[in-house]
């Protein structure tokens, strides 16, 4: 038991240590403005945490992320099912949704900035715009692929529209929605940082920007490390959610 546990995890820790060593060596052998060794990054990170700056910035970012992301799911999923259910709407709107899904949403940030200014709402809008289309797109795909026979059987048992949604469409579409949710998590994170960079500077985005403007390379590395860990954690969470709901997907 113990040996298999070791064997399974040893390569991970070995490669992690090797990476840290490489970072440390690279940091020590180059100029301080260019790269900071791992040890100093940790020291800087500790200073930021103790200074209290870090926690409040983190909470700011989390609030922005969650608001935009939840809005995207709450709007995207029902709208997606509705589109899949009402054929005319789907055919009519499909090319536009596809276009918006492929459009780099960042290009809209300057417009949002000059229309809505620097408040919390425009930033939520940016996160929402980044995250909503993956949810919408995947939900439509999922609800579209419901076999017509299933709906026919439900109808022939005199199922009303509400029961049809609750018993057939929603359970069938859920795994697809979750694929959209996983993609949306990644995109919302990008949207969050973009909003914090280009709209009013707050949160972790501001932490990085400030550090970069002060040539505080240690601060830049510390913030990137933290956001990287958050990103990996969220991605894991997304995959877990997706797999959990994918059990009955063929």
């Amino acid at each position: 038991m113990q040996t298999s546990f070791l064997r399974r995890h040893a390569p991970f820790w070995a490669s992690l240590l090797a990476g840290i060593a490489l970072w440390e060596i690279a940091g020590r052998s180059t100029s301080q403005a260019f790269m900071v060794p791992f040890s100093e990054t940790l020291v800087r990170l500790w200073q930021l945490i103790v200074g209290g700056d870090f926690l409040s910035q983190f909470l700011d970012s989390a609030e922005l992320f969650l608001t935009g992301f939840v809005l995207a799911v709450v709007v995207g999923a029902p709208l997606g099912i509705l589109l899949a259910r009402v054929r005319v709407l789907r055919i009519g709107l499909e090319p536009y949704i596809m276009t918006l899904y492929a459009t780099p949403m960042v290009a809209l940030i300057p417009f949002i900035l000059s229309l809505m200014g620097f408040g919390f709402t425009p930033k939520v809008l940016v996160v929402f715009l980044f995250a909503v289309f993956p949810v919408l797109y995947n939900t439509v795909e999922g609800a579209r692929s419901i076999k017509p026979e299933m709906i026919e059987v439900a109808k022939s048992f005199r199922s009303d529209e509400w029961a049809l949604w609750r018993e057939v469409i929603l359970p069938y579409t859920l795994p697809y929605i979750m694929t959209g949710v996983r993609q949306a998590i990644g995109r919302a994170l990008v949207g969050m940082v973009a909003a914090e960079f280009f709209l009013s500077s707050t949160g972790l985005g501001q932490l990085i920007m400030g550090a970069s403007q002060n040539f505080d390379t240690g601060g830049v590395f510390a913030s990137i490390l933290v956001i990287g860990l958050i990103g990996v954690g969220l991605m894991r969470l997304g995959l877990k959610i997706e797999r959990h709901f994918a059990r009955w997907r063929q």
């Binding site: 390569p11 490669s15 492929a102």
Partner: protein, 277 residues
């Protein structure tokens, strides 16, 4: 005689329904799309006219702006700069990413060492590296290329590695029993087998590269479409700026369609959940 009449009628009648049905099917998708497009444009126009300041972009003024923007040398230069940077970055990411992906997919040792780093960097919101790249490369085109490569390369690595891993073992066994060299096996068996995955990765990478380019131009103030949009929207020329957004959207869709088309045309046997990733 009646038989002949019937068969003649059948002959002349038979081919008819097909084009009719086709036309109906086409009208069936075209009409709702047209109506939906007009409805969206109408709502947008109405809302902006009613509630927003005059400089805000609305369909009628954007359409009027198109003719003079697309002949504007500044716009053309910006388009060229952005697209060539994206093409350059994508090409580098494609070659390097394919190489790393093949190594990762075929060699368990390489896989074990770099897997967590690849996944970690892939999960990193790509624009987070901009402040760092601006420190490293300065506020220049080099930082933009670096951002594009960073944005694009990991989706290619991840997908190519997936593809290289999924090569049927029998193919490799046959090649090995004919004493094929490892390089040849990689080039002639693994790479072709991984191509569909490569295309799926490229599709994601193209979208991410485009986002990377625009964000880099915002952040670094390097000339290009992103900067064109930023500059014009700051100068309250929203209509002109929006033409840039339309072009970016068109480019994004074109990338998507090209890859889908390539997959259908050259790899018609291949079907996979293309929205994954």
């Amino acid at each position: 005689m009646t038989e002949a009449v019937i068969s003649a009628a059948a002959k002349s009648g038979a081919p008819k329904p097909k084009p009719k049905a086709q036309a109906a099917a086409q009208g069936g998708t075209l009409l709702p799309r047209l109506i939906a497009g007009l409805a969206i444009a109408a709502v947008w126009e109405f809302v902006v006219r009613g509630f927003a300041p005059a400089y805000v972009a609305k369909p009628s003024t954007v359409v009027m702006a198109i003719p003079h923007v697309i002949v504007d040398p500044a716009f053309l230069a910006a388009t060229g700069q952005t697209l060539s940077a994206v093409a350059e970055g994508l090409a580098i990411a494609l070659v390097a990413g394919t190489f790393i992906g093949l190594a990762m997919g075929r060699s368990p040792a390489v896989e074990r060492v770099i897997r967590h780093y690849v996944n970690g960097f892939y999960a990193l919101p790509m624009i987070i590296v901009l402040p760092l790249f601006s420190l490293w490369f300065g506020y220049s085109g080099a930082a933009r290329i670096a951002t594009i490569i960073f944005a694009a390369i990991f989706s290619i690595i991840v997908n190519v590695a997936d593809g290289a891993r999924s090569v049927p073992a029998e193919y490799l066994e046959v090649a090995r029993s004919f004493r094929s060299k490892r390089v040849r096996m990689t080039l002639e068996i693994v790479l072709p087998a991984a191509t569909p995955y490569l295309l799926a990765g490229l599709r994601l990478a193209a979208g991410r590269a485009l986002i990377g380019a625009v964000v880099a131009e915002f952040f670094l103030s390097v000339g290009g479409l992103g900067y064109f949009i930023l500059y014009n929207s700051r100068a309250y020329h929203h209509n002109e700026a929006f033409v840039g957004v339309l072009l970016l959207a068109g480019f994004g869709v074109a990338c998507e369609l090209t890859v889908v088309w390539c997959t259908r045309r050259f790899l018609p046997w291949y079907r996979r959940d293309e929205t994954a990733g």
